[in-house]
Structures are given as C-alpha cells and as structure tokens.
C-alpha cells in the first residue's frame, strides 16, 4: 500500500514550479468566483470607445465593440474554468468506470470498451473533436461534449491497466471470498489503488481540455458571441490583429491557467512517484 498523500506532499510542494502553479490556480479561482466584484465594467456593455489601447480606465484596452477586455477576461474565467473542471470530472468518471469494468470483468466487456477507445485514439484529438462538434452543431455545450468524446479513453486505458494489476492480488480475492459484491470490491479494494495515477492524469488533463475547448471556440464551434469565452475572444482579435491587445490578453489567460494546472500536475506526479519523491527528499535534506 502507498503511504498517505499528506506525508509525501510537503517536499514536492516546496519546488518553485509547484508554488507558482498553486498561486496561479488559486488566483484564477478567486477571479472566477469574484468576477462580478472585481471587474471594473460590465463584460457585455458596449459603452466604451472602440479599440482603445490599454491605459487608465481600461487596463487591457477595449475590443471592436467597445467592451472592456479586462472585465471580459475576468468573466471568461467563469465560463472556461468551471466547464473545463466539469469536463475533466466527467471524463474521469466515464473513462474510469469503463476502464475499471474492462479491467475487472475482462473478456468481451474488455474487448468492446478498449476497441472503442482505440478507435478514438486513431484520430488526432482536435480533428475528431472538430468533427464531432460540427456534427452536433456549434454551441458551447456541444463543444464540451466533443471534448468529452476524445478525453475519456485515456482514463479508461490507465484505469484498466491499474485494475488489471490489482485484480488478482490477495486482498482483492479475499474480499471476494468474504462475499463482497462486485461494487463493494471495486470501491473498497480496487479504487484506492487507482486514484493516485488517475488524479495526476486528471490534473495534467485540465490544461489539455482547456486548450481543446478554447481551440474549438476559436474555430467558431464553441461559445457564441457575445459570451466572453477566451478562445472566441482570441478569434475576434484575428479580425483586428493590428490592435494586438484584443487577442493577447485572453490568450495569456488561457496560457496561465493551463500552465498552473500543468505545474500542479507535474508536482503531483513527482510526489506520487516514489523514485522522484526520494530524489526530492534527498535534495531537501
């Protein structure tokens, strides 16, 4: 059994990248929660001068419709971050459940689920997500669905492998012999051995999911105007790329959120990998 998470985190958390990731992530969560209080303007109001360069009063400038970009970027956090977290949670749930079933039951259940997963892996992600989003019709909800379609197989694969690894272990078998139901066996004996690696994957995947989701919106297959979605805001900046600030700031928002979760995911992986954890500890001593 692994040692509890809390005893291994501290060394890893002292790494500079971990601190940076933590600070960035918390900052963005605060912005998302407090946007109505923090934002200086209404993100949808078109009452400012058009395409004004960044300066006092509108620090990130205004867009071609006279909307304050700083306020839009802040409100954008309320669109992108919850959707991305929901998306990843759903992929973990669906992929994890399917992967666990594949690994636990084996045979045709395994074959069916994993072949479907293989099929999804046969496409480059943006292309498949684009195809799905286009087929379902352009909307933010459908874009989320499209990303979900391409995101779950990774979890199915990882979970299946981990479940296969513990399925035949004595503690699982003895549980079954004691008369545990399949559900209880999966929940009590198998799940704790699977969570760590899946958690790492999920944290790293938050960034990927956000990139994909905003990419679809950039392509016009996601958020509809006037929604302050970051990808769509970058797309509107393409039309007026002379006014660099229109596209630059929403793009920076995406970059910093993705970076934050990649830093965190990287740290989490180091913390959960015994070899790296030891290396960090040796250095810390």
């Amino acid at each position: 059994m692994r040692r509890p998470l809390s005893s291994r985190l501290p060394e890893a958390w002292r790494q500079p990248l971990a601190v940076a990731g933590g600070v960035l992530a918390v900052a963005w969560l605060v912005i998302a929660l407090a946007a109505p209080v923090l934002a200086p303007h209404d993100p949808l109001a078109q009452d400012l001068p058009r395409l004004a360069a960044p300066g006092p009063g509108h620090w990130f400038g205004t867009d071609q419709l006279g909307r304050d970009i700083l306020s839009r970027v802040m409100y954008g956090a309320r669109v992108s971050i919850p959707l991305t977290l929901l998306l990843v949670a759903l992929s973990v749930l669906i992929g994890g459940l399917l992967g666990a079933c594949a690994g636990y039951f084996g045979r045709w259940v395994d074959e069916t689920i994993m072949r479907v997963a293989d099929l999804v892996f046969a496409f480059p992600t943006v292309i498949l997500a684009m195809v799905v989003a286009a087929a379902l019709g352009a909307s933010l909800a459908n874009a989320v669905l499209a990303v979900l379609v391409v995101a779950w197989p990774a979890y199915a694969r990882v979970t299946r492998g981990l479940v296969l690894g513990v399925r035949e272990r004595e503690f699982v078998l003895s549980g079954r012999l004691l008369g545990f139901s399949v559900w209880r066996s999966l929940r009590v004996d198998v799940l704790p051995n699977v969570t760590g690696p899946v958690l790492v994957l999920a944290t790293l995947d938050i960034g990927t999911a956000l990139l994909l989701l905003s990419g679809l919106s950039f392509l016009g297959l996601g958020a509809k105007p006037p929604s302050p979605e970051w990808g769509a805001m970058v797309a509107s900046g393409v039309e007026v790329f002379d006014s660099w600030w229109v596209a630059t700031f929403p793009g920076l928002a995406i970059l910093t959120v993705v970076l934050a979760f990649n830093f965190l995911g990287d740290t989490l992986r180091d913390a959960l990998d015994p070899r790296t954890a030891r290396a960090i500890k040796e250095r810390a001593l």
Partner: protein, 362 residues
Amino acid sequence: MSDTPDAVKATRPEGLRPGRRQAHPLARFLVRRILLAVLMAWGITLVTFVLTNLVPGDPVAANLGQRALGDPAIVAQWRAEHGLDKPLWQQYLLHLQGLLQGDLGTSQQSHRPVSQDLAEFVPATLELAGAAILVSLVLGVAFGVIAALRRDRLPDHALRLLSLVGISVPTFWLALIAFYVFFYRLQLTPGSGRVDAALGSAPAVTGLQTVDALLAGRWDIFTSAVGHLITPALVLALYTIGLLTRFTRSAVLEVLGQDYVRAARAKGLPGRVILFRYVLRSALVPIITVAGLAFGSLLSGTVLVEAIFAWPGVGQYAYKSATTLDLPAIMGVGLVVGVVYLVINLIVDVLYGVIDPRVRLQ
C-alpha cells in the same frame, strides 16, 4: 502452432517455437500490425459515417436549390440517386463503396469533390508538418539529453520550464502573436502563404515547394519558401518540442542508471561514445513512440496554425469547412487525417519492432 507438444512449448520462450518454415517473426509481426491498421481504417469510416448521420440537417436541403426542393419528384429522384431512400446499413455500404473508389462526397462550399480539394491541400500540410516534426525531433531530443545530463542544474530547470510552457501555450494564440511580432512589427519574416507570389512557382513534382524549387534549381524560390515555412513550423513545433524534451529526458535518465552504462563508463569509454552508442540507442524506443503521438498533435495543430498564416493546406480547409459547417468536407478531412495518422502509427510500430526485437515476440 497447436501441433506443438505442450512439453516443448513449456521449455521454449514465447514465439521461439520450432518449425522454421513459419514466417519470420518480424514478417508475422508486420502482417498482424497491417491487418490491425486495416481494421482501424474501417472503424474510422464507421465513425465518420455515424457522425454524418447524426446531423440534424437534411442533406437534400443542403444540396438542392430552393426551386428544386419545391418539386417532390426531383427531391425523390435526388434521394434515390444518392441512395438516401435505402436503409442506413445499405447507405453505409454505398458510402464505403464510394470511399474505395476515392469518392469523399462533394464540398458544399467549393462545389467540388472533397477528394479533389484535399489532393490540392495535402502537400502544403505535409511540408509544414514535416518541417515541424524535423525541428521538434532535433531540438526535442537535444534538449532532453541536455536536461538529463545536467539533471537538477540550471539547464535542466530552464528546459523544464520551456517544455512546460511549450505544452501549455494555445497554438492558435501563439501563431497570431508570432505573425504579429515577426511579420507585422519586425518584418523579419515574409507574411502569409507558402512563397512570394512575384517569384512564380517551380514546376510541381512533389507538391512540396522547397523540394520542387531545389529540383528546378531555383534558389530564389527555395529561400522564399523556407522563409515562409520557418515561423509557422516553429509555432507548430513548440508543443511537440516540449513533449519530446520531457520524454527524452526521462528515457535518458532511465538508461543512465543502468549497469551497462556504468560499466561502459568504468571501461573509460569517451562520453560521446557512451551517449550515442549506449544511451541514445536504448532511449530511442520511447522517443519514437512519443514522436508518433507528436505527429498526431502536429496534424491537429495545423488546423489552428494554417488559418492564421493563410497556409493553403488541409488545416485551413478544415477551418473553413468547420466555420461554414461544410459537413462532407469536415468528414473528408477527418477521414484522411485519421488514415494518415494510422499510417504513421503503423510506421512507428514497425520501427519499434525493428529496433527492439522483444516487441516482435509479444
């Protein structure tokens, strides 16, 4: 193989069974992988077909003019012509038959066969993606080796940051920023397109501007083409450089800890020899795997990058089709890119088997 006695089977490792008349293990491995790829290609056609039929829109309305739609006879005739009056599975068979004859449907945008559109755009994308993968392999592997050799020192930390930024940056945004800074502001790079229009173009042999220019001995076109290629290729490559750096680093670190590397060092072999003959050779397998995956992300990236640089490739075609919801074109792109990706993965698998004999025997 079932005629092998169990006793013999038990004493020999998997795959090393008697009966040399059997195909070479590598050949068997190849056949199995190719069959698997064909199966997957069939799966891809199934996916795109199902997706096309999910669409709420009526293909009749999309393809016939207003006046023709008013006439039930014409509509019925059109439906019969395109097999839309048949049950779904028959429609799929017709679709498959069309695919085998290279018929990908007609683009609602260009009113040309999708296959013709794609044939025109594929070489440009191959040139861009090829340049990007070349840059990524060279830089990614070099960075990964440097990071591993200088572990936990400044170069390692700097490269870790660079690779994390590389995989975190939104490609479409980076493309826009690079275009703005290097072309619009600094005027260091030529703008959009593949080559200066004023120079004309070299006779098309391969469809790759750089190669065609060299074949025709046109240095002016070649330098212009390379100039146009640099920025989009670098933008596209940043993500894969990040990916390859990370994987190369951990692969090299893994090998560096092995006993045979320590033995080579103890023998007093020069560092160069150890690095290239001992370390990189075994690190190659994971690197090649990631390179195959990286190619997939490059193909994805082209959709987002080509639109910005007005690069006349499949990516821009996909972007235009996506924004106008030109479904046959999007499905055509999905199908072709899916198959290209499949072929690349097949090549990776085969390389795998060639490099690492253990893989063949699984």
